[in-house]
């Protein structure tokens, strides 16, 4: 068995020990931001800095998606003028950023979280309510 554990192996072989949920942080309003508080269940599993870095990057990406800039304004006006038919051929800015976020989470899982027996679930699969971190039992991995 390889030293670096792939996600596939982990999901098939390991059992779920616990799930940690990172809740939303509403102190800046209804924007999609997650709490950066380090949960106690992860203390033995991952470095606090690493975790906070991940959450902070995610928060920045979501802020970029929801930013009220000239781009979103132009997109909104164009959509209104074309009676919103423009979205049949074009992807919205938000969707583009969501794809970026999905790629980032995949990358983080592969590089940082999976080797430690953790798995981040993309918040969009949970309706942007929580970031679900699954902690797998560390029994089938050789150390």
């Amino acid at each position: 068995m390889a030293e670096t554990h792939s996600l596939q192996d982990m999901r098939q072989q390991a059992a779920v020990a616990a799930k940690v949920f990172i809740q939303r942080d509403y102190s800046n309003g209804t924007m999609c931001q997650f709490q950066t508080k380090f949960p106690s269940e992860l203390e033995t599993k991952i470095d606090k800095q690493q975790f906070e870095e991940t959450i902070r990057t995610l928060n920045n990406l979501y802020a970029e998606a929801e930013k009220l800039g000239s781009q979103s304004f132009i997109e909104g006006c164009l959509a209104c003028l074309t009676a919103y038919t423009v979205f049949l051929c074009m992807e919205t800015h938000y969707e583009k950023v969501l794809k970026k976020i999905a790629k980032y989470i995949q990358e983080q899982n592969d590089k940082i979280y999976a080797p430690r027996g953790l798995l981040l679930t993309d918040p969009i699969e949970r309706g942007l309510r929580v970031i679900e971190i699954t902690i797998y039992e560390d029994r089938s991995f050789s150390r």
Binding site: V16, S27, G29, T30, L68, G76, Y84
Partner: protein, 469 residues
């Protein structure tokens, strides 16, 4: 009242795969089902999940019918005359407006308003565990609100029993659609859907363009009849020649007042970054107590508020209608988990709701008058009544505020448990539907709130968080 115990949910039990309980004989080859087919809210879907509509879609066919018929009559009977005597621009402008109105209407009706998917079982267990460890003893029901600070303003987040999560700010649970909707404005029967974060801009463009369309048709019809009566020297003769114009006049005349009023009202809401729900409840009007409460979501600049609401980025639909259900989690699995963990199914939610609302109904039947919700005799109902009336609107329309407060209480009590409606309430249901015709004032039912209050008022040990049957 039944003696219900508080039962802690064990998240480990939830991770037990339900496949073990599944009968192998039941396993057939099924085509992969999409998520919309198992959607728990009261919605109907078209085009394989691409279009969504509320099950209680009210008078949407009537709205469409009125618009199409009036415009049809206009193009058929008034336009030929006006093209001849004035300009060909008239039907062109009319046509553009008509298309815009219909497109906005269809877009509002068939777009997901911003429905929040319900919490998964693990999430709900986690939240419950957190509530339990925040210091309350096992016999007291756990608190169902959470207070947070938004822009130095205290905002209360309420727990939604149906969706099993703390509602984000500005989110409300629509009892008609049985969904939590983000930035909930109101449930519009004319449009047949909730108006929320994702379709508010379409709704706003619908009412604005409809105001222009009705004013335009009204003006053109008046011009038409005036010109005709000048030519024929008599209004009566002019009307006789073109009876369709009278029909259009009548429809437009009555619509204009309400549509223009609604447009004005929503323009005010957009400029101050408020929702109808917040405005009616007076959440930020600063009229309760000595606290200064301003709207924490406003950008304090009208233009920025308008841009944020109408031209902001378009968030995606969170309910993933067209995604495929994982084959393990199809309906048989749900049945299996129901057998294993009875307290956790939505049924228990309804049971608890039934229990508490039944108590409230019984108390109200015995002690209060429906028409005024006047507290009489039973001391248990009076705080309930006062809380309800304090949350009633104290703003703009005085005539509607009393209707709304009644609607608030009745809707809250009656809607979530239709099976339970006592005979006495059926009369009030009809009145509710009359009140609800004005779309601006159709409120989301604060039913979980009311049942929460009922639970708080009731005896502690009797009503637990999850009743054990």
């Amino acid at each position: 009242m039944k003696n219900c115990e508080y039962q802690q949910i064990d998240p480990r039990a939830l991770s037990v795969s339900p496949l073990s309980a599944q009968n192998p004989a039941e396993k057939k080859v099924q085509r992969p089902r999409r998520k919309w087919e198992a959607f728990p809210g009261k919605n109907i879907f078209f085009c394989d999940g691409r279009l969504i509509l509320a099950r209680q879609n009210g008078v949407l066919p009537l709205t469409l019918g009125l618009i199409v018929v009036t415009s049809g009559l206009f193009f058929a009977f008034d336009c030929p005359f006006l093209v001849e005597h004035l300009t060909v621009c008239i039907p062109v402008i009319g046509g553009v407006l008509f298309l815009f109105v219909v497109a906005s209407l269809l877009r509002t009706s068939f777009t997901d308003p911003g429905i929040l998917p319900r919490a998964t079982a693990d999430e709900a267990a986690d939240i419950e565990r957190q509530i339990d460890t925040s210091g309350s003893s096992t016999y007291r029901p756990p608190p169902r609100t959470k207070e947070i600070l938004i822009n130095q303003q205290v905002v209360k987040l309420k727990y939604c029993f149906t969706c099993k999560m703390f509602r984000p700010p500005r989110t409300s649970h629509c009892s008609l659609c049985d969904n939590c909707v983000e930035r909930f404005d109101h449930h519009c029967p004319w449009v047949g859907n909730c108006v929320g974060k994702r379709n508010y801009r379409y709704f706003y463009s619908f009412i604005i363009s409809l105001s222009f369309l009705t004013s335009f048709i009204f003006a053109c019809v008046i011009t038409h009849i005036t010109l005709r009566s000048q030519a024929k020297k008599g209004i009566v003769q002019a009307v006789q020649e073109s009876p369709a114009s009278v029909v259009e006049l009548v429809i437009c005349f009555f619509s204009i007042w309400s549509i223009l009023g609604l447009s004005g009202f929503h323009t005010y809401l957009v400029a101050s970054n408020l929702t109808t729900n917040e405005d009616i409840k007076g959440s930020w009007s600063g009229k309760r107590g000595a606290e200064e409460s301003g709207n924490p979501y406003t950008y304090s600049n009208i233009i920025t508020n308008c841009c944020a609401t109408l031209c902001g980025p378009m968030p995606p639909s969170l309910i993933d209608r067209r995604g495929f259900l994982p084959p393990d989690e199809a309906i048989p699995a749900a049945a299996a988990s129901e057998m294993e963990l009875p307290p956790f199914t939505p049924k228990s939610d309804a049971n608890m709701c039934t229990q508490s609302t039944k108590d409230v109904l019984e108390r109200m039947l015995h002690s209060s008058d429906f028409h005024g919700l006047c507290p009489s005799g039973n001391p248990k109902t009076s705080p309930l009544v006062q809380e309800v009336s304090s949350s009633a609107p104290a703003t703009a329309e005085p005539s509607l505020s009393s209707g709304c407060s009644r609607q608030l209480a009745r809707q809250a009590v009656v809607d979530p448990c239709p099976l339970l409606t006592p005979v006495a309430f059926s009369k009030n249901n009809r009145r509710d539907s009359l009140h609800s015709i004005n779309p601006a004032f159709r409120l989301a039912s604060p039913s979980p709130t009311l049942s929460r209050r009922a639970l708080v008022l009731g005896d502690g040990p009797d009503i637990g968080f999850i009743p054990q049957h």
